[in-house]
């Protein structure tokens, strides 16, 4: 190991030891990450509730409840007054409602910690449930679905559609923000009831990181006693994901759109397990997010210039277009393997889909070579250092460790350890066990729904041409890609109009 990376690893271990040393009891309701020379303090409250707890027909209830805490008045201050008080601190707080977890997070300078602490804790302890605030967050959520997701971000729309298709029929299917009709049906009374049922002291964990001092940690943990009391509703439990018997395609028809494609299938591997880290190596080689080391990127973008990038995932990665490193606080018990092909011309979309599938098939059939494995694991051993450079991010990982039940040093330290321990045989065994290139679910947003669907169903060749000369090797590969079998039954392809997507649960 190099000097600098050793120093960083030691830092990470110490910090995470502080977590487990401070809270050795897995059930304890506090996570601490002291960083004495950090002049800021990061706060998180994690509530064990998420969009999977939305009642059927009221998809979006968890989201609206969370947003009303983060963007609403408290019984102490109006929302306007909260903004006024936060303003000179240059601090905010925000909520992330995901499938299974809800986290309220914020950060402030230690000069301002007392003023901030009062505002932050009041947000989740003393919500006013003001009707005007409710109408604002409700209309923002509906506008997000009706305008932004449907019309202004085709790549995110394709990913959300894929998610809905893979988890169809389960409480995981709808986006965390909800559905249009679900959001419209929600009342302020629904929100109050949801808060009383889920925002319980027994359902929450507080986390504190950075340069905090004095009795702040004790007070923060003690604040949980002010939440509603009672026994949490039984956890929703693991959902029953329908096995995929044959490849299914959803084509979202949107006039004038280029093609944005995502495809994948559920994977039975969780963070913390040995296979997870083995699969991470394979996935990184195939499609490291926003990185030119991604093999898919090299094949589709670098060699052929078809689009801006092509990546793959084994864990949820929302807002991929806006971040370069993995997000925190989107921990989920159900994950999927996913390939993201960025926007490209409709006439090249089947070629790009085939190219990605062909690379996936090659990986599944041949595994990684020793050379690819060595390069990728040495890359990841250092690259993981960028996952959590800030206290706030490290605190996020510490909370996620609690979610996944990862004891001791935590996921990031285990990650580096596994990069040193795993063998190419481990990785190839994990590939064989967890990955495949058939029985997929595919989501495509396109302005040529009919033409694309017909081409997919008939498996007609999809040759591609370039404005510039290409090498003989590329052209020879292209001939194979153009006829790579997709094996999609015509009746497994559905077309849905963009204005109907996420109008209600299911397609």
């Amino acid at each position: 190991m190099t000097r600098a990376s050793a120093a960083l690893a030691a830092g990470a271990v110490l910090a995470l030891c502080a977590v487990s040393c401070s809270a050795p009891d897995k059930e304890a309701s506090v996570v601490l990450l002291p960083v004495p020379d950090d002049p800021t303090i990061s706060f998180t409250v994690w509530f064990n509730v998420g969009s999977q707890d939305d009642p059927p027909g009221k998809e979006g209830l968890a989201h609206l409840t969370g947003e009303l805490l983060a963007q609403g008045s408290t019984t102490e201050n109006s929302y306007e007054e909260i903004l006024r008080r936060l303003y000179p601190l240059a601090s905010e707080y925000g909520i992330r409602v995901d499938k299974e977890m809800t986290t309220l997070t914020g950060r402030t300078h230690r000069d301002n910690v007392e003023a901030y602490y009062r505002l932050f804790t009041a947000a989740f302890l003393k919500p006013a449930f003001d009707d005007s605030d409710f109408q604002r967050v409700q209309s923002d959520a509906i506008n997000f679905l009706e305008n932004t997701l449907r019309y202004a971000s085709d790549e995110e729309l394709a990913k959300a559609a894929l998610h809905a298709l893979v988890f169809a029929g389960t409480s995981y299917a709808h986006p965390p923000v909800g559905t249009v009709q679900g959001l419209k049906s929600i009342t302020l009374e629904d929100v109050k009831k949801f808060y009383r049922e889920h925002y319980l002291g027994a359902n929450a964990v507080v986390a504190l990181g950075g340069g905090f001092a004095g009795d702040l940690a004790q007070r923060f943990e003690g604040a949980l006693a002010e939440l509603p009391s009672g026994e949490p509703k039984a956890a929703a439990g693991l959902i029953d994901v329908e096995p995929i018997e044959r490849t299914k395609v959803i084509v979202v028809s949107k006039a004038g759109a280029d093609a944005s494609i995502s495809f994948g299938f559920p994977v039975e591997v969780r963070r913390g397990e040995k296979d997870f880290y083995a699969l991470w190596i394979a996935n990184s080689w195939l499609g490291e997010h926003r990185n030119s080391s991604s093999h898919l990127y090299q094949v589709i973008r670098e060699a052929r210039g078809l689009n801006y990038g092509d990546y793959s995932y084994i864990e949820a990665f929302p807002e991929g277009g806006r971040r370069s490193m993995p997000p925190v606080n989107v921990a989920r018990n159900e994950q999927m393997f996913e390939i993201w092909i960025r926007t490209l011309p409709n006439e090249q979309s089947r070629f790009a889909l085939r190219a990605a599938l062909r690379e996936l098939a090659s990986l599944v059939q041949n595994g990684m070579t020793a050379e690819q494995f060595e390069l990728t694991r040495s890359f990841l051993e250092k690259y993981v250092l960028h996952f959590a450079e800030t206290t706030r991010e490290r605190l996020g990982y510490a909370v996620d460790d609690r979610f996944y039940g990862i004891d001791g040093e935590g996921h990031l330290a285990r990650f580096r350890q596994m990069m040193r321990e795993l063998t190419v045989e481990d990785v190839n065994a994990a590939i064989r066990k967890h990955l495949r290139h058939d029985r997929l679910k595919i989501a495509i947003v396109t302005g040529d729904a009919e033409g694309l669907s017909a081409g997919l169903g008939k498996d007609t060749p999809s040759p591609v041409s370039y404005p510039s000369p290409k090498s003989d090797q590329i052209l020879a590969e292209d001939r194979e890609i153009a006829v790579f079998p997709l094996a999609i039954d015509p009746d497994a392809i559905s077309i849905v109009a963009v204005e109907d997507v996420f109008e209600r649960a299911g397609f």
Partner: protein, 449 residues
């Protein structure tokens, strides 16, 4: 809290980055917590080192003071950004595959971006890889070499980037209002460039050689290195790797924008469904911390239209007729716009929202802002700055726009001092000067329903 817009080109730049240290060895100021070392090599390459404790991480930025502003030749919009892509295509010594492999071996978090005034190449690595980084970065800035076929392939990837952007209504109105506001100056086109020029890029191989020869010169580049570094040995390595780089920057002939004499207004159509966007842009001076009225514009934008303003309370919180309201002026190299933009929830209320903006403008032209609010804003600027300095990469990205606008970081400290001394009356006077009808352009975007 407020919805974060994921558009780098709309960042309220002046409000998240400020403060640094002028001068040489270990100069310290009240604001900036780290020492700095600034040195210019004989060939004109300016080097700014910021040592800080960072768990072994180093952020290495090469800032070229060329962006879409420099695309003054007709038919070449978008070229600075396109050229940024070409910089990853290798040299004779480190061909593309080798360069990529080295980055992979280092586990580098590496990327680049282009704005109106700069092109920045940045890598975050561990400090024991710093020497290697200097070697490969110095090499590609001096010896870039690519084949014509590779050049043409990359043009396809850039077109793909345009495709993903053009579906955004905010990008669409941004593109339109700048084109309307700047008839001569190159701020009239976005960093992406016009679609017709992007389409023609594969044919510009020869031009790309000239672009590299004119702009990628040491006298037009600033190296910014932040993190766990030793100043003496880092400087020695930089001299070794960059010392032979030949100067020869040829300044572009950027046309001046004639003074605007009347209000302009455009309607922008958007092919998808969208709530209307309203954008009002007032011509303001170039960034200059010694220009007190221009410094006051930064404060004015926040006081008049920020999260604690009266119009925010009225339109966002009470009446809920807009989804958000944002305002700010880039710290730009040439005169640009103070942008005020919003998304209107009810399409019939666009004129009403514009009238409320007018009312706000009239009020600030007449009356100085409240002193307590000005004090709150100063506090906000200070803490936003301090809290953003937590990693080497964050420090570097707090400084880059000042480097691009002024060529150094001295301006940051001056700006911060100016924020603290500009008076309420100076804010009012800035409103009276800049927020006048003949300086503004109004754009309204409406989607298909």
């Amino acid at each position: 809290m407020k919805r974060v817009l994921g558009f780098a080109f709309l960042a309220l730049a002046a409000f998240v980055a400020a403060g640094a240290v002028p001068g040489d060895e270990s100069a310290m100021s009240k604001i900036f917590p780290y020492p700095t070392h600034v040195e210019t090599l004989p060939n004109g390459l300016k080097v700014i080192l910021v040592p800080m404790s960072s768990n072994g991480l180093v952020s290495y930025w090469s800032i070229v003071r060329t962006g879409s502003r420099d695309e003054f030749e007709p038919g070449h919009t978008g070229f600075a950004h396109f050229f940024e892509h070409m910089m990853f295509r290798g040299t004779e010594r480190f061909p593309q595959e080798v360069y990529s492999q080295i980055l992979t071996e280092m586990g580098a978090d590496a990327n680049a971006f282009t704005s109106a005034d700069l092109t920045a190449y940045h890598l975050s690595v561990t400090s024991d890889d710093l020497e290697r980084v200097m070697e490969i970065e110095a090499d590609r800035f001096q010896n870039l070499a690519y084949a014509e076929s590779v050049f043409e392939t990359e043009a396809g990837a850039v077109y793909g980037e345009y495709r993903k952007n053009r579906m955004s209504p905010l990008f669409t109105i941004y593109e339109a209002i700048y084109e309307e506001a700047f008839k001569k100056h190159t701020y009239g086109h976005t960093t992406m460039g016009y679609e017709r020029d992007i389409k023609a890029m594969p044919d510009m191989f020869d031009y790309s050689k000239s672009f590299f020869a004119r702009y990628y010169r040491p006298d037009n580049v600033v190296l910014l290195v932040v993190g766990d570094i030793d100043v003496a040995s880092t400087m020695a390595s930089i001299r070794k790797h960059y010392g032979e780089w030949q100067p020869g920057y040829v300044a572009p002939e950027i046309p001046r924008e004639p003074a605007q004499t009347a209000e302009r207004r455009i309607e922008v159509s958007y092919a998808g469904q969208s709530l209307p966007f309203l954008w009002v842009g007032y011509k303001v001076d170039a960034f200059d911390p010694a220009n007190r009225p221009r410094v006051a514009v930064d404060l004015l934008a926040e006081l008049a239209f920020g999260e604690t303003s009266e119009i925010h309370k009225k339109l966002v919180l009470d009446e809920q007729v807009v989804e958000f309201l944002a305002a700010g002026a880039d710290p730009s190299r040439d005169p640009k716009l103070l942008d005020i933009y919003t998304r209107v929830k009810d399409p019939s209320k666009v004129d009403y929202v514009l009238a409320e903006i007018d009312r706000t403008v009239a009020r600030y032209r007449e009356t100085p802002p409240d002193g307590d609010r000005l004090a709150d804003l100063r506090s906000r600027l200070k803490y936003a700055f301090l809290m953003n300095l937590d990693t080497p990469d964050h420090v570097a990205s707090s400084l880059d726009r000042f480097v691009s606008a002024t060529g150094g970081i001295e301006a940051v400290d001056e700006l911060f001092l100016a924020y603290d001394s500009v008076t309420a009356e100076e804010v009012r006077a800035a409103a009276a000067t800049y927020l006048s009808p003949e300086r503004r352009t109004i754009a309204v975007l409406r989607g298909q329903k």
